[in-house]
């Protein structure tokens, strides 16, 4: 298409020149094609010139090839001053393959998730306080990736730490109607998950995943979610 347009724009004498142009150097084209295809790296004009018979108009052939391949699934492109074949940009989607992997949560992630579920809205510092160990950023990132937890807001305390809570996906995945379905102390004991000898002071909170923020929560400012620094400072 473009070549047609170009032709129309050409002054007359040029168009005549085209007519007398020698036949396409197919042999040369084929050689350049093969060399570029088989090479493990892009080739420069000089490297190509060295490999084809003397007198071959390598640049001319490259430009011809570039036109020939422009509309195809593979294009001839010049990168860093060297030439190579590359699959067409619009077909990049073909070059990806999605692999779905079943993955298990680490124990740290499971514990953190459980604490968020029971104690929500809860800050990272509070999670650490309950777990007795510091929580790596990675653990929360993994949990956010599961879409089972979300950042709810900011606690109205010094440092304004982010509060975490569970999501609708959490309920869907674990087949609960609401987080209030999470078993309490007696049920956990009954299921044999808690030792019956736990101290009297041992409390299992009643979780609350209400969309509405609690009284001591402020809304998250838009954008601040993705600023690691802001988050770090808030957590410290």
């Amino acid at each position: 298409m473009t070549s047609e347009t170009d032709l129309l724009d050409l002054p007359d004498q040029m168009r005549d020149a085209e007519d007398v142009e020698p036949a396409v150097d197919l042999a040369g084209q084929r050689m350049i094609e093969a060399l570029l295809f088989a090479s493990s790296e892009p080739l420069s004009l000089e490297e190509l010139t060295l490999r084809v018979p003397e007198g071959t108009d390598v640049l001319g052939l490259l430009e011809e090839l570039q036109k020939i391949y422009a509309a195809r699934g593979v294009n001839l492109v010049k990168v860093a001053g060297k030439w190579c074949f590359r699959t067409a940009e619009d077909l990049a989607f073909l070059m990806h393959r999605n692999v779905e992997e079943q993955r298990k949560l680490s124990r740290a992630a499971l514990e953190t998730l459980a604490i968020i579920a029971y104690h929500q809205p809860v800050t990272r510092a509070e999670i650490e306080e309950i777990r007795g160990v510091s929580t790596s950023k990675g653990t929360l990132d993994v949990l956010l990736e599961t879409t089972w937890i979300r950042m709810r807001g900011r606690r109205r305390t010094p440092g304004r730490p982010v509060t975490y809570g569970t999501t609708e996906q959490f309920l869907i995945h674990f087949g609960m109607e609401s987080v209030k379905d999470l078993p309490g102390l007696e049920e956990l004991k009954g299921a044999g998950l808690l030792d019956s000898a736990v101290p009297a002071s041992f409390l299992v909170p009643t979780p609350n995943d209400d969309i509405l923020l609690t009284e001591d929560e402020d809304p998250l400012e838009d954008g601040s979610l993705f600023e690691d620094d802001a988050d770090e400072i808030a957590e410290d």
């Binding site: 990806h96 949560l105 604490i115 029971y118």
Partner: protein, 279 residues
């Protein structure tokens, strides 16, 4: 395996020429009388037979097996004459060929079980043809356009990028047991961390000795301890230790204690050693 290059005086006729490696043929034609017996170039007796057969310059299908057998036996005889050691393979073949020769020369025996000389000869011819055929096709195979030598596959393949999408999995049970285990672990740990201050008997005794020494009036034991009561939590250990210590001091005759009734205050006083102080 077999003996390699052996340079020996040629015995007589030219029948050994075919034993030499082809490359040296011409040289020797001029510079005779050196004979080169080169078994190294042969891959075993069958290959040697094939080499001998080729010199008959006829189609292997119409080869004279008898003539071939003669040539082979001559080769072996010559090698022995030159005291060359031939590998066992070659000698076994020689023995078998000698047997075949006798079969071929003798009038046919009517024996149903044993193959005739012709049949054995045909079998040998078949094996030679088959080996030659394999040799031919191996050459044909290697002369094909071969990938990485004549034709080339993609030099810079665009590797497929794999996008991993994780599907997270956890059951309610995983969740609850993680929670319960974790909470329980924390509560147990905190109990262990709490350390109680305990008054040793020795400490209690030292303190009592110093205190009671000053007073000879009956006084409630607890009042002596008031100064040392830093902490309510330590009360039990203080009382227990001092009481035990006081009993010991009573036994030693240093103090007296009395109590009006169960659970009432315990009184204590030092024993005055002076005779003029009445009890």
């Amino acid at each position: 395996m077999a003996e390699l290059n052996e340079h020996t005086q040629a015995s007589n006729d030219g029948s050994f020429d075919l034993l030499s490696s082809a490359g040296r043929d011409e040289e020797r034609a001029v510079s005779d009388p050196l004979l080169v017996v080169d078994v190294e170039g042969f891959e075993g007796p069958l290959d040697l037979l094939l080499g001998l057969a080729r010199t008959q310059k006829v189609d292997l299908a119409r080869i004279s097996i008898l003539e071939l057998v003669e040539q082979y036996l001559e080769f072996v005889a010559a090698a022995r004459l030159m005291r060359l050691e031939l590998a066992a393979d070659y000698l076994v073949m020689a023995a078998w060929l000698a047997f075949l020769k006798s079969k071929l020369l003798l009038p046919e025996q009517k024996d149903e079980d044993e193959p005739t000389g012709e049949e054995l000869a045909a079998a040998l011819a078949f094996r030679l043809r088959r080996l030659e055929a394999m040799r031919d096709v191996s050459e044909k195979l290697m002369s094909r356009s071969r990938a990485g030598r004549d034709v080339f596959h993609r030099g810079a393949p665009e590797t497929m990028s794999v996008r991993h999408k994780s599907i997270w999995d956890a059951s309610v049970y995983d969740l609850l047991s993680a929670y319960a285990t974790q909470r329980q672990r924390q509560s147990v740990t905190s109990v262990r961390v709490l350390r109680r201050t305990v008054w040793s008997l020795q400490e209690a005794r030292e303190i009592l000795t110093r205190l009671v020494g000053r007073v000879s009036e009956w006084a409630p034991l607890n009042s002596y301890l008031r100064d040392y009561l830093y902490d309510e939590k330590e009360w039990a250990t203080i009382v227990a230790s001092t009481f035990t210590a006081s009993l010991e001091m009573v036994r030693e005759g240093q103090v007296e204690i009395r109590q009006g009734e169960p659970f009432s205050p315990v009184y204590i006083r030092s024993i005055v050693k002076d005779a003029d102080h009445d009890v």
